[in-house]
Each structure stands twice: as C-alpha cells, then as structure tokens.
C-alpha cells in the first residue's frame, strides 16, 4: 500500500530535507572530512623528514592530474557539512523562542558538544586563512620555506594551535555523534566508539599542532 506525502514525494528529496536526513548529511560529510584529515596529516608529517622530502611530496601532489577533481570534491564536502550544519543550527535556534532563565543539563552534554558551533566557526576561520597562506600562497622557493616563514610568526602559529584545539574539540563530539546519527549504537561498542572518538580527536590535534609548536616555538632561533 502506498499513500500520503511520503510516497508521492521523491524519497531522496524527502530524506534530505528531513531533520534526520540533514543530520545524516552533516555526519557523512564530517566522516569523510575526518578521513581527509588523516591523509593530510600523514602528508604534512614529511615536514619532520626535511625540506627535500616535503617539497617532493608537495610537488608530486600538485602535479597529479586528478588533484583538481579531488579538490572540488573536498570543497563540496566542506560545503555540504557547513551548509547543512548551519541549517540545522538555525532551525534549532527557532525551536525555543523563549530561553530559560535557568538552564542546567542533568548530564550528557560535554564541553565538545556544547561548543560545536563555536569550534566549527573557529575551524572555518582557520580554513580560510590556511588556504590563503599555503594553498594559494607564494611558494616559488618551495612550500617548505613558505611554511617555515609563516610558522616563525608567533601570532600565526599561536592561532594555528588554537584553531587545531578547536578542531579537536569539534571531533571529540562529532565522532561519536556521527555513529549515533547513522543509527550505530550498541551497548557493547558505543562506549568504545566514544573513547575512540576522544583518542582520534587528541591524535589529530597533537599531530597537526606538533608542527607549528616544533617549527614555530621549539626550533625557532
């Protein structure tokens, strides 16, 4: 039996415009972006190997004919994640027009979960600055020199570390939240997933932050 709005509307449109579908999109894009972070971090760690290795990696990557397509796909992921998250956020703001005089959750909420919007905006601000300095920066002397030049600026490195802390905080909630949104919850595995999310967030933060901290503060003359 088919009947009503559900059947007459296209299922996919109906799913994508639903509260659950929008969250699914945010989560799915978030997970893929998490995968990108891992690959990006692995590449960046060539900084520790040396100038030659890092520049060779950067050049090989930028000479790859598939790079523009990958970059467009990546931009689409960011856009989907941000646009749907903002839409969800604005709807949430409308859902309680009169705020509580006193509001205190009995449990459940974490620093990461409470600050998703703030950490998200921080990461977005970082992303824009990061793209401007490194992706579209002047690297005629090699990307290594450009990176080192920027890391020597304590304000840039400081902001870099702060934004990565924001990213870590974002992931600390986002990782487990994604699993829940995909419907993956199990009494045995969910506690492990929550712990794995915290470990993943910490590793991403420490991995990326190690570079500005080492090259900007520890090794700086």
């Amino acid at each position: 039996m088919t009947e009503g709005k559900c059947a007459s509307k296209c299922r996919l449109t109906s799913f994508m415009t639903s509260s659950l579908g929008k969250k699914f999109t945010v989560g799915a894009a978030g997970f893929l972006l998490g995968g990108f972070l891992v690959v990006h971090l692995a590449g960046n760690l060539f900084l520790f190997v040396g100038e030659g290795a890092f520049n060779h990696y950067a050049e090989t990557l930028s000479n790859n004919p598939l790079l523009p397509a990958a970059e467009i796909a990546l931009a689409a992921l960011f856009l989907a994640h941000i646009v749907f998250a903002l839409k969800v956020r604005f709807e949430n703001a409308k859902a309680r027009p009169v705020a509580y005089e006193v509001y205190e959750a009995k449990g459940g909420r974490t620093i990461g979960s409470k600050s998703m919007a703030v950490s998200g905006v921080l990461v977005l601000a970082f992303l824009i600055i990061h793209l401007k300095t490194f992706r579209f920066g002047d690297d005629k002397d090699g990307l290594y020199k450009l990176v080192m030049e920027w890391f020597k600026n304590p304000f840039y490195s400081g902001f870099y570390v702060l934004a990565l802390a924001g990213l870590g905080l974002h992931l600390s909630h986002g990782f487990q939240s994604g699993f829940q949104t995909f419907g993956l919850n199990h009494p045995r595995y969910t506690p492990l997933i929550k712990k794995a999310g915290l470990v993943f967030a910490a590793l991403i933060f420490l991995g990326f932050a190690s570079m500005p901290i080492y090259f900007g503060f520890l090794r700086a003359p």
Partner: protein, 249 residues
C-alpha cells in the same frame, strides 16, 4: 522549611510573562513538589490572588501530565522521577527555587507553568498505532519473542510522553519521545505491518510541529523520568534511513 520561589507567571499565550517571587513558609519535607505548590496556591487564593497554573494528574509518576523546569532541570534535580515524585526533602531550608514551564516552540504556553503538549498527540496520530485484526485472539505462543527483545520494547514503552526530553534538549528536539514510540513497535511483531510508514510519518509529523534537531548531546536521557535510553534514537535513525532508502513501499 521556608523557601523562596521564583515562579514563571504568564497570564495567557500572548502575555510576555516574568518570574515572580513568592515565599513558601512552613513547608513539610515530606510534601511532594506539587503539594508544596498546592499550599502556596491556597495562600494566594485566600489573599484573593490568581493561583499558579500548573499541570498534574495521577501524581504517582505514571501519567506524564506533570512538568515544570525546576532550577533549570525538567522534573527537578532527582534522576528517573517526575515532578510529582520529587519531595521537598531534596531541598534545604532557605533555598531559592526557580520554577519555569517546559519551553519549546512546539509546546506553546497556556498559562503560567502549563504548556500545550498536544504536539505529541499529533505525532502519535501520525503513526503511533498498530493494526488490530478482527476475529479470535491469536494463540499466545504463536509469536515467539525473545525475553531480551521484549524487555527492550517494554523499556521504550515506559515513555509517559511528558515532554521532559524536549524541555531538557538544548535544541528542543523531540527525538527521544518519537524514538521511544517508534522503537516499542519496531521491536515487536505487532508493529511490523506499519513499520516503514510509521518511521516516515512520525518523523514528518515531528518536523512539522517545529521541534529542533537532535545534536546527540543526550541531555534528554539524563532528564527522562522513565530513563528512556538514547539507543532508541539510534534505532529511530536506522528505521528512518531504512524506510527512506531501502523500502519499496
């Protein structure tokens, strides 16, 4: 016990409303929170003032009619109890207690602490039912249900539909309520015929009422007087995804 109450007073749906201070004198620690409000109301009526409007019915934690956000927490500070089961011994002499209504766009204010929670009824009408065939009752042992599954269904069915999950949610989302209802039917054979449509229809009704979106913060689970688990929300996500993507219905 002597207490200071700051109670949300709002003459009607279109009034702005504000916190008004009342003093509750000689409160017995054995009174429930609602009985304490009854005593305060008697005093107000004797003085010729308008009594504080609030919802209650069974006063034994099973009907889901009582509400109130007490010091920022739906149903007050205790875990797994409704406001009617909250006793004044939880508080200390001289405390100031802030009492507000459940706040959500989908729960429009009626008066003072009473809000209209009929949005939940409309969500139930959209899919919270099962088909019952006419004829003789089926043989009881024909449908085998494992104890484990029956327990999970019962745990979900313990939801009394009070709306504390919405009140506690930072986004005023109704996911825990709808998830509990979808789950109690999805787990049992009686709920199978409408399983797909139920997930879609109840989600649609929930969205239409103007509830917020779940952000998986689980404040709902902590506030629920019946301790409904957020694993039900994951099940609802699963049911909805399956219904949207896989179902041919």
């Amino acid at each position: 016990m002597n207490l200071t109450l700051k109670v949300w007073r709002q003459k009607g749906p279109n009034d702005a409303g504000k916190l008004v201070e009342y003093s509750a004198q000689g409160v017995s620690p054995d009174m429930s929170f609602l009985e304490m409000l009854d005593v305060v109301n008697e005093g107000l009526i004797k003085k010729g003032e308008d009594a504080i409007a609030f919802d209650s019915d069974c006063r034994e934690g099973i009907c889901g009619m009582c509400s109130l956000v007490i010091n920022g927490q739906p149903h007050g500070p205790e875990l797994g109890t409704a406001t009617c089961q909250l006793h004044m011994r939880t508080f200390s002499d001289g405390d100031t207690i802030v009492v507000e209504p459940f706040r959500a766009r989908a729960f429009p204010p009626v008066k003072d602490l009473a809000v209209d929670r009929s949005a939940f009824d409309r969500i139930m009408q959209a899919g919270g039912y099962v088909s019952v065939n006419t004829g003789n009752a089926p043989e009881a042992n024909a449908n085998l249900i494992s104890h484990h599954v029956a327990e999970k269904a019962m745990d979900a069915a313990a939801c009394i539909g009070c709306g504390a999950c919405v009140a506690a949610c930072p986004n005023a989302s109704a996911m825990l309520f709808v998830a509990a209802k979808v789950s109690q039917y999805a787990l049992l054979p009686q709920g199978q015929p409408e399983r797909t449509r139920r997930a879609l229809k109840m989600r649609e009704a929930m969205d239409d009422e103007g509830f917020g979106n779940c952000s998986n913060e689980y404040a709902c689970e902590a506030a629920c007087p019946k301790e409904i688990k957020v694993s039900n929300i994951a099940r609802f996500n699963r049911e909805h995804l399956k219904a949207s993507v896989c179902s041919e219905e």
